[in-house]
Symmetry: C2
């Protein structure tokens, strides 16, 4: 079976927190053709647990992310099961021994892919949902002279303290399962994965989403329990527990200023982002909140705060569940690319 993606061999990658991923692989997929002038590059990273094909809903001819105009690169986040991850790394760095990877590490690796593999010097846009929003902000802060425009939606420049606590609940649910065995499982910790999915269910969509019964009326589930099993447990169960936990660590520790450049000065890191930026939270997102986005926009020289008017909570930004939100996002991405 032919893979539908490419793999770039990064060699040995020394990470921010001290460990090294040996023979590090970055899985990626490209859409469209790189212009000779290299002025049509869009970087569109993956979200928590997502893989490149789960990003494709926003790409298409006539859309903002139009592969007939742009050269779109989706780099798979480290630990997502396709790029180097706990689940696919040989001993001795497999499973729970896989090292801690930051968003900074991810974006530095993506930078190597773009520059070494494609010789890219300039990026028209970095866009992305959720943890990909974290990556977009990092692109802006780590490579301020390389990126024209940024479009983080339902993301943030760092994981807020409340967001961190929400993720502690997800982790605690998953790891309460004895089958997990501190990561040394031989059987899938299904009960813990299902529990983590149920914790996520209350956070991912808004109170109004549930009040208006959009699980049934828009998504066609036959009951609330059907939605919890069919949608939520269905998303989480196929994924590897150690991969999920590694990405949760990445998420919890994401912060554009937590590096040698900004030394923890969050406002300085925000000020350094030169790219024209549309920060697009969902009005009803319970963990990447519009309040946090507003604070970020106020501290950036060239950012606009554009909340998505939606009751779909965090899922206003992906992966294409609500056509109206998708259309709103697409129109704003077009506006931003045209500017």
């Amino acid at each position: 079976m032919a893979l539908d993606y490419e793999v770039y061999d990064l060699g040995n990658v020394a990470l921010q927190r001290g460990a090294t991923i040996r023979d590090c692989k970055m899985a990626y997929k490209t859409y469209g053709t790189l212009n000779p002038g290299q002025d049509n590059v869009i970087v569109y990273p993956t979200w928590f647990s997502g893989q490149h094909y789960e990003n494709e809903w926003l790409i298409g001819a006539g859309k903002a992310l139009d592969p007939t105009k742009y050269f779109i690169i989706i780099p798979n986040m480290l630990c997502n099961g396709l790029s180097s991850s706990p689940s696919n790394t040989p001993e001795p760095y497999n499973g729970p021994r896989f090292p801690q990877v930051t968003i900074y590490d991810n974006v530095r690796a993506q930078h190597r892919l773009l520059t070494e593999k494609f010789g890219i010097k300039r990026i028209r846009m970095v866009a992305g949902w959720s943890m990909a929003g974290l990556q977009a902000f990092h692109w802006g802060a780590l490579y301020p002279d390389m990126v024209d425009v940024l479009a983080p939606f339902c993301g943030a420049a760092r994981c807020s303290r409340h967001n961190f606590v929400f993720l502690e609940g997800v982790k605690a649910a998953l790891t309460a399962d004895a089958v997990w065995m501190e990561g040394w499982y031989t059987d899938k910790p299904a009960r813990g994965l299902r529990a983590a999915a149920r914790v996520f269910a209350g956070w991912g969509l808004s109170q109004s989403f549930y009040r208006e019964q959009l699980d049934a009326k828009a998504l066609g589930f036959s009951s609330l329990e059907d939605f919890l099993v069919g949608f939520w447990e269905g998303i989480i169960l196929p994924r590897d527990a150690n991969n999920l936990l590694a990405m949760l660590w990445t998420w919890q520790n994401g912060d554009i200023s937590d590096n040698e450049i900004y030394k923890g000065d969050f406002k300085a890191a925000l000020r350094a982002i030169k790219a024209k930026t549309y920060i697009m939270p969902s009005k009803t997102d319970l963990y990447f909140t519009p309040e946090d986005s507003e604070i970020e926009a106020a501290n950036m020289p060239n950012a606009k705060f554009i909340p998505i008017p939606s009751v779909w909570g965090h899922f206003a930004g992906g992966p294409g569940l609500n056509p109206e939100d998708g259309a709103f996002l697409d129109s704003k991405l077009k506006e931003l690319l045209a500017s």
Copy 2:
């Protein structure tokens, strides 16, 4: 050691869902003296997992709930470890065999305590936080001619679908622990209890609470992790897992219209509440949301929607963590009692 509370023996109580609690006990405590005219009764039920002494922060001379003026009764909710509960009921109805108890069952039992034990015919006020708010609404709907005023704070007339989903996450986290053994545990399922506590941590307080670092600045915890262990795990760990799960069932199935009187007609049940009511949600409550309160107030003949202006989320309503919220509540309760 003398108990600081009384116990009323309800005998055999046939429950709404079909089972019977034999030799059913209701633990309660009273404050102040019943007037000869019996016009000074306040009923002030307990919240999820709470016991009567955890309600006492709102009672005191000079406060709205003034025991020198009022006869205040705190009935302990069934399953809370003091009234009949999985943890204190003899075989064969102990542990996971303890029957399902609704809020309706609780309020009917409280009504028997008031009428049979004290001969009370009229209640000046029913007030309460969270699940006690559910009980207050039930008092208004089940005994509309008996209650003068109602003050549910951070509560609701029914458990919303989103609230239900949030509680599914709490349950899933607790029950992912193999030590729980479907309720037949011999050892305390500590890992599951701690996981449930961590899930609760993101829901109980608002995003702004954490953003403003009130865990440290107002409550004095030394770090976020210190708060998660010291406060959250500290609240949940001492409580019995089956009691908690029984109360979660009670919470999830709370609905003033789910009975033979209203037959599921929620609006009819709201319309039937004659008591003057102050519905006081917290502006930042993530599960008993102000939006739900507003809908309830709009459907009641004599209700006012009075949100508590607080960033303390659900904990704006109790148990006395933030003095400003407590003062706001107290002033509104005084206003309501004076009306």
